[in-house]
Symmetry: C2
Subunit: 351 residues, 2 copies
């Protein structure tokens, strides 16, 4: 190792789900939406005046902040937009978690949280889920440097009651609390209404799941004007121009089409509920997901074996080779047709 390498930040990066480049596979491994983005998004792209790309985009991302503010009935100063919710949360860790006390999050949760904490050398403490895989709210009441949890949680898919979410916020008013609602639009209930009451609450959402725009990279956060101002200060200290005007315009088109949004979310919920029946019949058990995926374990065949057998049949689901969850598969809810292919494949594998 050379001397210059001593000053390099050594990290264990997050491993994203596979993005295979082959065609013809059924991709149920990264919680993508099986439906295309709202039709307005296509119009934005097709009619885009490419010449304007020579100019920098609007650093304040005003049009999209306004559209989101209108949707959530808040002021646009209460909206922060970033390059996917990962970017929003990465900035939030940097902006808000600067304490010597540990940040609290669940032990089974989005596996990026400890990666961000390690990146910035933020102390953290993982709190075990209950037997039922639910978050035990009292575990989050101790002295800490901040709290973050997804609701619904990933990869369990379980939704915590808004009353319990509020209890966690209420008991943590001296730190920033982040509720990561990447999966809230599939039947969950948002904590957004609490941002008026608790100025230390940040609610993070994304266009990657319910708005079918993972490829466009748009995430956002809602919070008090003060909290959002702090977050923007850090953003402007990192990269002034994060979203292209194209992404901003496409995002606005998606937000404006509430009907399409509701319809596709409803379709996914319907497919998910049907999937619960079918997977149960196939011998799986799982927490009662309110997200666009199901976190399932089989009564007799190991998750790893099923994962590999499915892959051979060109069906990709997500397998985490990690303690506590290494006998589970996270299966994204696809179209009804894709799910039928999954059930057939599973029948063959398990049969």
């Amino acid at each position: 190792m050379k001397t210059w390498e001593n000053n390099v930040r050594k990290v264990e990066p997050y491993t994203p789900g596979e993005q295979p480049k082959v065609n013809g596979i059924i991709k149920l491994n990264t919680n993508e939406n099986p439906y295309p983005p709202a039709p307005g998004v296509r119009e934005v792209l097709k009619n885009y005046n490419t010449d304007t790309l020579r100019k920098y985009p609007d650093p304040a991302i005003s049009n999209l902040c306004e559209a989101l503010a209108e949707k959530y009935k808040v002021n646009k100063e209460q909206v922060f937009v970033g390059v996917g919710s990962d970017d929003v949360i990465a900035m939030s860790f940097l902006a808000f978690f600067n304490s010597d006390e540990p940040v609290f999050f669940p032990d089974i949760t989005y596996s990026f949280y400890d990666v961000w904490a390690n990146l910035y050398k933020i102390p953290f403490e993982k709190k075990a889920l209950g037997e039922d895989m639910h978050i035990k709210k009292e575990d989050y009441y101790g002295k800490n440097g901040g709290v973050i949890f997804p609701n619904p949680n990933a990869p369990t898919g379980l939704m915590e009651d808004l009353k319990d979410v509020e209890d966690i916020i209420k008991n943590n008013q001296d730190v920033v609390v982040i509720v990561d609602e990447a999966y809230v639009d599939f039947g969950g209930k948002s904590a957004v209404s609490f941002i008026e009451k608790y100025d230390n609450l940040l609610v993070v959402q994304t266009f990657s799941k319910s708005r079918s725009m993972a490829g466009m990279r748009i995430g956002y956060a809602l919070g008090s004007t003060k909290l959002i101002k702090y977050l923007n200060d850090v953003k402007y200290s990192f990269n002034s121009y994060t979203l292209s005007n194209l992404a901003i315009d496409a995002g606005v088109a998606a937000v404006k089409d509430d009907e399409y949004f509701k319809n596709t979310c409803e379709s996914i919920v319907k497919t998910r509920e049907a999937a619960k029946e079918r997977l149960k019949d196939l011998g799986f058990t799982f927490p009662d997901s309110m997200a666009n995926f199901i976190f399932a374990t089989h009564r007799s065949v190991s998750a790893k074996d099923i994962f590999e057998a499915l892959k051979k049949k060109n069906i990709y689901v997500r397998y985490f080779d990690k303690p506590l969850i290494d006998n589970y598969l996270r299966i994204t809810v696809g179209t009804p047709q894709e799910m039928e292919s999954l059930y057939s494949a599973l029948s063959e594998i398990l049969g």
Copy 2:
């Protein structure tokens, strides 16, 4: 101030140049390219299959890394891509500047460097430019935690000899040295050839200036495989998916059209050289810029007065209200027509 605010990172963010939303102005304030992106970029957008946006993009940004590797005759493992060169440099500060010794950069330079250093609490030391506004290379030979400078420098526009650049690298082999070449394509000479010899050298470039794609947000870095691996580890610990597939495809189209790239760069160089004559005749002096802007001071009228008078005439140039440079204007090289309007306006103002 509430208790939770104690743990917030307080920063003095970078102030980007104005992006006025009104039409009909002549915008010479943010070093944008006056010509549109390569025609292939328009084709990419027009023909884009919007449905694919539902999927995550390629986290490795492989196609664009390959296109850039081919252009610079390096391996694709020697290429890193980010959301504009600001994102690339922000990640690099985080990845590489983790020493107790100060990072060195010029006192008159890109004003984001000290913002990044402050964001991450990295110690730094600014080195004064010489009387002639050139970098004094010997100042960078002392014990430090890393070195960064632009070449050509901004906002002076001055190019340092590659021999001097190599001397700085040669004397700093125990730290990472970043050469920020945002403006190199307008007649400058790149340090890229040194990356094979010095594995601690990172050369950063951008699509925002010479490729007319500021609005698309693409920047990149070239370095040793080892250096790029470290940088990618930090990127994957921050945000796995930074560029949309649309941006990747558009970037590839731009890189492939070398003829268009050369022609537009040559046009800008020609306009810049003509501008030097005209500005001299109007009573300005300036360092001999090799970038797409001219950093000019007037013999009798203050920069601030000229800046404000030009703005009233709907011509925006950049004025920095900062010590050492507060009597200078940074004027982006526009089209010949835009420059004629500038000269007329200046004649009236100064006349």
